[in-house]
């Protein structure tokens, strides 16, 4: 006798698309679960939640959810989402994509969306490398890390993402790891209520690529590293919270920015109202 088992999140998943493409030990399953928990708890109408992604392992996440989902081109999810949100402000548009997609090829769109305080949530799953193409280095790869394209160690400096986002003027900025799903989920819930640009970085293992080449024998080892080296410090000086796993530096987590300031859509509405007054 067999019993049919359905996933507890059955309603929010496209069951027929499983199994997913992610590797054993990957953190993306936790990200998926956290996002779905957050939108359920948020009180937003589920059909208002739209996911947009670029290209990469993370960018496949929206396609597994049973929401309105848009898998676009490499690096361009934020620009696509910008058009979508302006065209229909009642949507809750979230971009979920990887570090390579959002900050290497797509860095320009991130900068400008944050500067505009565009009414979007951007979740960046940072695994420190290009997972889908075999683990090459990118702008988030820590200095000295070994990757498929830095066989002698990465000589470049890496981005400190919360620092960038805060400097650009985002309304909400947080960083968690997939070892912190409850905090991560709460941050998503908060970000859903924010007017303006909210940014959440979530660190996630990439066991066969970055992990394997940098001393993390499997996904669990990298999770253990996050557990051991993470500290929550919401008052941290953001300039100092870059990531350096090779010299015992703490990984600083928390909700660093949560501020009320005019968003792009608030300003656009103001402009349109002003034009109406002039007409009358």
């Amino acid at each position: 006798m067999t019993t049919e088992i359905t996933h507890p999140k059955h309603e929010l998943l496209r069951d027929e698309r499983f199994p997913h493409i992610w590797c054993p030990g990957c953190g993306l399953g936790i990200v998926l679960q956290s996002y779905l928990n957050a939108i359920e708890k948020s009180g937003t109408k589920l059909e208002d939640n739209v996911l947009v992604s670029g290209i990469g392992c993370t960018a496949r996440l929206p396609g597994y959810t049973n929401l309105d989902t848009y898998h676009t081109t490499h690096g361009r999810a934020i620009a696509f989402a910008t058009g979508m949100k302006i065209a229909n402000p009642s949507l809750k548009v979230t971009v979920i994509s990887g570090d390579g997609d959002l900050f290497n090829i797509g860095g320009n769109h991130f900068i400008h969306a944050a500067r505009r305080n565009m009414d979007l949530m951007v979740i960046c799953v940072n695994n420190f490398n290009y997972g889908m193409t075999g683990g090459q280095h990118g702008s988030t790869t820590p200095t000295s890390s070994i990757t498929a394209s830095t066989p002698y160690g990465n000589i470049e400096a890496s981005f400190n993402l919360p620092y960038i986002a805060a400097a650009l003027g985002a309304s909400f900025v947080a960083r968690w790891t997939v070892m912190h799903p409850r905090q991560f989920t709460k941050s998503i819930q908060k970000a859903l209520e924010i007017k303006g640009f909210s940014f959440i970085e979530v660190l996630s293992p990439c066991p066969p690529n970055f992990g394997k080449l940098n001393g993390f024998t499997d996904g669990f080892a990298e999770m253990e590293f996050y557990r051991k080296y993470s500290v929550v410090d919401e008052k941290a000086n953001l300039e100092d919270i870059w990531i350096d796993p090779h010299h015992g530096k703490e990984i600083v987590l928390g909700e660093f920015v949560n501020r009320r300031k005019p968003s792009y859509l608030m300003r656009e509405e103001e402009l349109i109202n002003k034009l109406k007054e002039v007409k009358q």
Binding site: G63, Y70, R76
Partner: protein, 378 residues
């Protein structure tokens, strides 16, 4: 409809006409990046759209502009961008996204001298093959080539209608001269224009986002409970990605077939003095106006020459060019480039084809075309 350009006669340039034509067609979202010679379209949209309940955003580059109009179009608004060669190059990848996700949008490429930065302020026609083949992979674009201010207005409306009907980004390959020359523009009352309105697909049991068997189903829009997936990867009718060549085949046959099977409805052209012609000039955009003048002068001298002007460059007017080729002895193809459209004329016309290469940067000299006609009748 309030806020539209009132019916009447205007002395206007092509950029004004394109922007107002777009608004008449129902365009309510514009994203763009300033670039000579099309910037006036962006400027006019920045003034007009907020007045009439539309949205304007100046993006950080042309890549973002193209992505943003696809996002806005998927959210339900008729959308447009305007650019020139360098920006058009940057848009190619997301143009492909629009093709594969079957997203309506209109892209104005106002051609200037190239390659690279070229001569930004002066005319060129070097993007003809880019309009056809610029994005990677196979597809069948629709491209209009206006040759007047009036057509800049009228064809922009047609471009929106075609993009809504066939669900793909449509290109208007105009040029710097048409964009900047001022002449008579006659605008009719809104009711007299055919405007194709966007239909919205409701949630259905079959979960289809696309139909690869019927040619057309309406788009869904997010926020209506449809829960659809729109994907840049090769996908099936539900929008689900696949690595299978068989899925790719079905999808591609649809993407190309929906245009190919409707070519007779899409293709537009003008014929001038064609019936008894022994020599036919094929010219488009500003070059077609110069060529028409040369044809008139040659006709006065008794030379049996005509003009075929493709108004839609793509899909290529294969049947027309083939049948003309069967009854004439020579095609002459003047272009402000070093031979682009001439290749297709030669391929489908099956007739000797002489190219005239006008260097980008100048309006073609009618005397050069006339001389080529005269040589053909020696």
């Amino acid at each position: 409809m309030s806020g539209l350009l009132p019916a009447g006669k205007y002395f206007a340039d092509g950029n004004f006409a394109t922007a107002e034509g777009a608004i008449m067609a129902g365009c309510r979202f514009f994203a763009g990046y300033p670039i000579t010679p099309s910037s006036e379209v962006l400027e006019r949209m920045s003034r007009r759209l907020p007045e009439i309940g539309g949205h304007f955003i100046e993006m950080e580059d042309e890549i973002g502009s193209m992505a943003a109009i696809l996002g806005a179009s998927n959210a339900g608004l008729k959308s447009m961008t305007a650019t020139s060669g360098p920006g058009f190059s940057l848009m190619q990848e997301n143009l492909g996204l629009g093709i594969v996700t079957e997203t309506p949008a209109v892209v104005l490429d106002e051609m200037r001298a190239g390659p690279s930065t070229g001569i930004p302020t002066r005319v060129g026609q070097g993007d003809i093959m880019q309009a056809r083949w610029g994005s990677h992979g196979d597809y069948a674009p629709i491209t209009y080539a206006p040759n007047s201010v009036q057509e800049s207005f009228d064809l922009t409306i047609e471009a929106f209608n075609a993009s809504e009907t066939y669900r793909e980004p449509v290109i208007i390959a105009s040029d710097q001269v048409i964009g900047h020359l001022s002449e008579l523009l006659v605008v009719k009352p809104y009711e007299e224009y055919t405007i194709i309105q966007r239909l919205i697909r409701k949630k259905k049991e079959d979960n289809k986002v696309f139909s690869f068997s019927d040619d057309f189903i309406p788009m869904f829009i997010p926020g209506t409970g449809f829960r659809g997936n729109v994907d840049s990867l090769t996908h099936d009718e539900r929008g689900y990605p696949s690595n299978e060549s068989s899925v790719e085949e079905v999808m591609l046959k649809h993407l190309i077939g929906k245009i190919k099977n409707n070519e007779d409805k899409i293709i537009k052209y003008e014929e001038y003095e064609i019936d008894d012609a022994e020599v036919v000039i094929v010219a488009y955009g500003i070059t077609s106006r110069v060529a028409k003048h040369a044809v008139k002068l040659a006709r006065k001298e008794g030379m049996k020459v005509g003009l075929f002007r493709p108004i839609t460059l793509w899909p290529f007017p294969e049947k027309n060019i083939r049948s003309i080729g069967e009854r004439i002895r020579l095609f002459i193809v003047p272009e402000i480039n070093y031979g682009q459209y001439s290749h297709s004329v030669r391929e489908y016309g099956c007739r000797e084809t002489r190219e005239i290469h006008f260097p980008p940067g100048e309006i073609p000299d009618y005397r050069v075309i006339l001389k080529n006609i005269e040589e053909a009748f020696l």
